[in-house]
């Protein structure tokens, strides 16, 4: 078993938070993990990505080879498409629908959405709105994580435990908000027919 996940977004959107949760959950489930991340110049408002690889066998490369990603999770819809060359045939695309428009030549939204929807196995959701409804728009990333949980080689319990560990220092309220976001994300995809 090996699962390759690409996490995408714009610097500051919380990609590394998702990565940390996956890392912790995998390690606690006695699985091997490799997770590559971007530091330095490109973090400043630019496109960022993280490669996450989870396996019950030894993992060699820190980078996922092209065409080998099982899932691409993106917190920004255009960033999702930037990494399509990594996607495996029949791989899953999961993204939040809210654009991050810090550039002048951002594509037209309708065209962008129809491009995304033209791919099979696509989950396009307004995770930000859900996070806002829960009173914590920062948890958009956690809603998305919930939405893909059923595709991951990790149990819900292990992911929830990892969320608790990550937010431990921030107190009970923040932990619960994030668990709520995770569960809400799960609900949404369980209602989708894929």
């Amino acid at each position: 078993m090996k699962t390759n996940i690409i996490l995408a977004g714009v610097g500051g959107q919380g990609i590394l938070t998702i990565a940390t949760i996956l890392d912790t959950a995998a390690l606690n489930s006695n699985l091997n993990i490799k997770q590559n991340e971007v530091h330095g110049m490109s973090q400043r408002g630019g496109a960022v990505l993280s490669h996450v690889r989870i396996s019950n066998k030894e993992i060699f490369s820190d980078l996922i080879p092209l065409g080998k990603a099982d899932i691409i999770i993106s917190i920004e819809p255009m960033e999702l498409l930037r990494y399509l060359p990594y996607l495996k045939k029949k791989g899953y695309l999961v993204t939040d629908s809210n654009p991050f428009m810090n550039i002048t030549n951002y594509p037209e939204l309708e065209k962008l959405y129809s491009e995304i929807k033209s791919h099979p196995n696509t989950i396009l959701i307004d995770a930000k709105a859900i996070a806002k409804q829960l009173g914590n728009s920062k948890a958009t990333n956690i809603v998305l994580l919930g939405a893909v949980a059923h595709l991951l080689p990790l149990s819900d319990e292990s992911l929830q435990t990892a969320i608790k560990t990550l937010f431990e220092k921030k107190g009970e309220r923040i932990i619960n908000k994030n668990l709520e976001a995770f569960n809400k994300g799960k609900e949404i995809t369980s209602n989708l027919v894929l």
Partner: protein, 538 residues
């Protein structure tokens, strides 16, 4: 025990467990997290391990050498271009040798993710004639770091550990082992070892040449170099560091049919290279960075009949390796992947919303409209983003501290206005000496120190310049009538333009300190800095 660590953190943990007494560094991507991990480590604090940032890589390496002189284990950490700054001590401490174990960690950045070049530090290691260790994965990073200190004391030489970005910035589970106790103070026993006046330096150089035999022997027997046999001898693979990992990735389910020589310790183990050379028809060399091994193992006039790699076009000559370009080199190029849809546009990095550099560039651009002759010499830091749209304010970006000296040289050539823009930390790193050159000749340049009181690009580490800039400039001899402080905020735009314009018109060296804390800093820290700055002004 298994710990989830970044490659850089595994290195730091390895150094703590090897019993270091100090780490000396200047921040620089992709090396920064090594020192930060030690700064945050409880164990390191309890053991009183020195970890405060140094002013630059040269001061860092010299301090590490001083700790080694005293008999204790020390580490110095930098990015590849940082070693250029420390090259003086680096080249000479291989002549003096060391006392307590001394490890030089250099993180190279193939593909220039956050750098202005992709120089390969192995060339420096060979230049200084010291052993180089090049781990292939994060577990090996931990193990090799512990070994490096042992090897350093055994050989009496500094040891280089060469990291690359992907190794530094990947996280995985690391098995850590027990910690060695720190060395006690123990002064050098060899007479004249550290006194490199010519008469003693010649002896030391002779000694360095002589111990090369031991160094080669150590590589031949190293646990980190290994030959793995394979039945198909049409190709033999020499793979160093992370390249070895990418080779294994391509054969994850089957055994690699070709013989492989994995290299993680230099000088190159010649006997092992000869073995694979004699056995195989062709040799494919895979290494991240420069064609360092490839050049060594190709004959001078070989026309590359036998050795293939980056020099022959079998592997990309520039840019980092990855599992895909290695797959191509191995002949697996049948993969069909989707293209990036044409509607996807580029998203380059940009200055943060509210960043003080933005207000400064706005002022600089207005002044450019008044005088199209204006040239702006830039420097290394977040403000380097001023090269890109929407500002495009900066004409040059070369190396740490170059802004001031280039502005001076251009001014000597007759350019006016000649403006240097340099960050506070870059100024104390390498700008102060250049300012002295300008002051001595009273060169008509305007130096703008964009002071955000942090080493912002690498994660807002403490800046050595904080609270000291005004006194430093005065001390260097800047005329106090031409040493101005501005606050780069939109509401001050016109006022700031007037101040900078006046200084540009002054026919001598002027300094404008544009002072506003980095927006990435916490509110408490910003408030503290502002309070300090106000006190200094009063």
């Amino acid at each position: 025990m298994i710990k989830l660590l970044l490659g850089n953190e595994a290195l730091a943990q390895g150094a703590i467990d090897a019993g270091i007494s100090g780490v000396y560094s200047y921040p620089g991507t992709p090396s920064t997290e090594i020192t930060e991990y030690i700064q945050k480590s409880k164990t390191a604090k309890e053991l009183n391990i020195h970890s405060k940032w140094s002013v630059n890589e040269k001061t860092a390496m010299e301090a590490a050498l001083g700790m080694s002189y005293a008999g204790k284990r020390a580490m110095t950490v930098m990015k590849h271009v940082g070693l250029n700054v420390a090259a003086d001590v680096f080249m000479n401490m291989s002549i003096s040798g060391i006392n307590g174990g001394l490890v030089v960690v250099v993180a190279d950045d193939p593909s220039m993710h956050s750098s202005q070049n992709e120089q390969d530090s192995r060339n420096y290691g060979r230049f200084a004639m010291i052993p180089i260790l090049e781990p292939s994965n994060q577990q090996e990073v931990y193990d090799i770091t512990k070994y490096a200190f042992y090897l350093s004391e055994q050989m009496g030489l500094p040891i280089m550990i060469r990291m690359v970005t992907r190794l530094s910035h990947s996280r995985t589970g690391i098995e850590v082992s027990e910690r060695k106790l720190q060395n006690k103070i123990n002064l050098p026993k060899t007479p004249h070892q550290f006194q490199l006046i010519p008469i003693y330096a010649r002896n030391r150089y002779q000694h360095l040449i002589e111990i090369q035999t031991d160094s080669k022997e150590s590589s031949e027997n190293s646990l980190f170099n290994k030959y793995i046999d394979g039945p198909n001898t049409s190709i033999g693979i020499i793979a160093s560091g992370i390249a070895y990992n990418y080779v294994l990735e391509n054969f994850e389910d089957d055994k690699c049919p070709y013989p492989i020589l994995k290299i993680s310790q230099y000088p190159l183990p010649k006997k092992q290279v000869k073995k694979i050379f004699d056995k195989c028809k062709k040799i494919l060399v895979l290494e991240d960075g420069a064609p360092f091994i490839e050049e060594l193992v190709s004959d001078y006039f070989s026309e590359h009949k036998k050795v293939i790699g980056r020099l022959t076009g079998h592997v990309n000559r520039v840019g980092e390796l990855n599992p895909d370009n290695i797959a191509n080199a191995l002949g697996f190029n049948d993969k069909i992947t989707e293209d990036i849809p044409s509607i996807v546009t580029g998203r380059p990095p940009e200055l943060c919303v509210g960043c003080a550099h933005r207000d400064l560039f706005e002022a600089i651009n207005k002044l450019k409209k008044e005088n199209s002759q204006q040239q702006v010499f830039g420097d290394i830091g977040c403000y380097a983003l001023g090269v890109l749209p929407p500002y495009e304010s900066i004409n040059t970006l070369i190396d740490m501290g170059a802004s001031i000296n280039m502005a001076k040289g251009a001014s000597d050539a007759g350019i006016h206005p000649s403006i240097a823009i340099i960050g506070d930390s870059t100024f104390t790193h390498s700008g102060m000496t250049g300012l002295l050159d300008a002051v001595i000749e009273n060169s008509p340049i305007t130096v703008i120190i964009s002071d955000n009181s942090a080493v912002a690009m690498t994660g807002a580490q403490d800046s050595a310049a904080s609270g000291r800039l005004i006194n430093i400039c005065k001390g260097i001899g800047v005329d106090k009538n031409h040493l101005k402080i501005i606050t780069p905020l939109h509401k001050n735009l016109d006022k700031n333009i007037d101040i900078i314009r006046n200084e540009i018109n002054y026919k001598g060296t002027s300094v404008v300190i544009a002072q506003r804390p980095c927006v990435q800093l916490s509110k408490d820290k910003k408030d503290k800095i502002k309070k300090e700055q106000q006190m200094i002004l009063n």
